[in-house]
Amino acid sequence: MIEAQNISKSFNGKEVIRDISIKFDQGKTNLIIGASGTGKSVLLKCIVGLIQPNQGQVLFDGRDFTNAGKNLKTEIRREIGMLFQGGALFDSMTVEENVMFPLNVLTDMKNDEKLDRVNHCLKRVELTNVNDKMPSEISGGMKKRVGIARAIVNNSKYLFCDEPNSGLDPQTSITIDNLIKEITEELNITTVVVTHDMNSVMEIGDKVSFIFQGQKLWEGDNESIFDCEVKELQDFIFANNLMRNVKRHRG
């Protein structure tokens, strides 16, 4: 379980996130949703330690990550897998080398074992015959899958996904969403997904937190989200016709 407690962050005096506390449950897909520019990605970066918050702390299974010493911080970081918005695959490496990278740097595994593990993870994300391809030679959806394979290759306990559906067509988005959910349940890991895609909320949102102008305004699951009375959340959800129709259909 991951607990973010009273996280605040300002840039040049402007408060981007304000006193946010959220718990992310193990074995569930935890979603952080909100409009663009509302502070979701900053919150995610505070949680994974890419940005130091001005206030608050993040606990990974009770271990204080924010104020941890270098050794503990490195130990926790090595349990984290992250899927970045653009995939963040290393351009100079092939798909296989990208996925194998955490194993090369962080483990003492033998080459055969590493290759087996890489092939297992690539198979798990439904990618075959792409081992020798460069990131520039594969599609956006494939890049996301390779990113997921790289994130889980080292048996990560925590998986973070920053807008995994951005730039993807609806069908591929659903495939990626389902993959994230399946992997979360299969490996019983704590998954945090930042998104503004309502389809993702409906597909995989075990637990949903809504951020508005740097504050958490609502928390619940994808079943109760339609019944919420927070106006900002309603405006966000029902911004498009599809969701309005869904609500009408649900009565």
Partner: protein, 250 residues
């Protein structure tokens, strides 16, 4: 003025912290060996062509221009190659090549790191618990430290060879005169001085370019700006270091 001075001091402080950050949370020794060898290929071997071309032509032109300026019957012809030799060893090979090196390798380092920064590849390394500055930058600096002096030695040789070819093929001086001038009152310390300069310039170019690339933020425009700034600042660093080393060591 005060704000500019403060900004410069803050940048200098950040640069020092950046250099210091490479030596903490390091990966295994073998990891660095492999990365450094790769960087030696990129930085050193891939620069041989441009260094060779520039060196041969600079040597040739220096010989012809020196001959053009020494038109007195009281000055023997071998003085031309003596001038070429000292200019090459003291300044052309280490310093002028450093400018070329900054243009080729410096901009490449800044561009590569800048692109990695804006495409979140550096963040990906950090999330994995890898010290990105140490992993990405340290091998580049070590490779530069070893490869640039070798390029300078190659450059000096080709510069003198270029001078020989230009001088003899145009009939400016004979081969015997050229070789005599090259060997005349040779000061071995000048080579030591050139190598000290080349080690210093290697560090200046690699560290400044890496710093500019590593702290890029924004998009493609900023990566281009970082590459330009890397070359500009490296050149300023090279010329400042050149002046200080000349004053201190000669």
């Amino acid at each position: 003025m005060v704000a500019k001075f403060r900004f410069s001091m803050a940048s200098l402080g950040r640069f020092i912290l950046f250099i210091g950050s490479m030596f903490v949370r390091r990966e295994s020794f073998l990891t660095y060996v492999k990365l450094t060898v790769d960087e030696c290929m990129k930085i050193g071997i891939n620069s041989i062509f441009i260094v060779s071309i520039v060196s041969i032509f600079i040597g040739a032109v220096t010989t012809l221009q020196t001959a053009y300026n020494l038109v007195s019957p009281f000055i023997p012809n071998y003085v031309i190659s003596l001038v070429v030799r000292d200019m090459t060893i003291l300044e052309l090979a280490p310093t002028v090549m450093a400018i070329v090196y900054a243009g080729k390798v410096g901009s490449n380092i800044a561009g590569e790191l800048g692109t990695m920064r804006i495409s979140e590849q550096i963040d990906a390394l950090e999330v994995m618990g890898i010290n990105s500055s140490s992993y990405l930058v340290l091998p580049k600096i070590i490779a530069s430290f070893f490869m640039y002096p070798m390029l300078v030695i190659l450059s000096a040789f080709l510069c003198i060879l270029g001078g020989f070819l230009a001088g003899t093929l145009t009939g400016t001086l004979t081969g015997y005169e050229y070789i005599y001038g090259i060997r005349y009152e040779f000061v071995a310390y000048n080579v030591t001085f050139a190598l000290i300069k080349s080690f210093s310039f290697a560090l200046v170019v690699a560290s400044i370019s890496a710093y500019k690339g590593y702290f890029t933020s924004g998009g493609a425009l900023e990566v281009g700006q970082a590459s330009t700034a890397a070359v500009t600042n490296s050149c300023i660093g090279i010329l400042t270091a050149d002046f200080l080393l000349t004053k201190l060591l000669l």
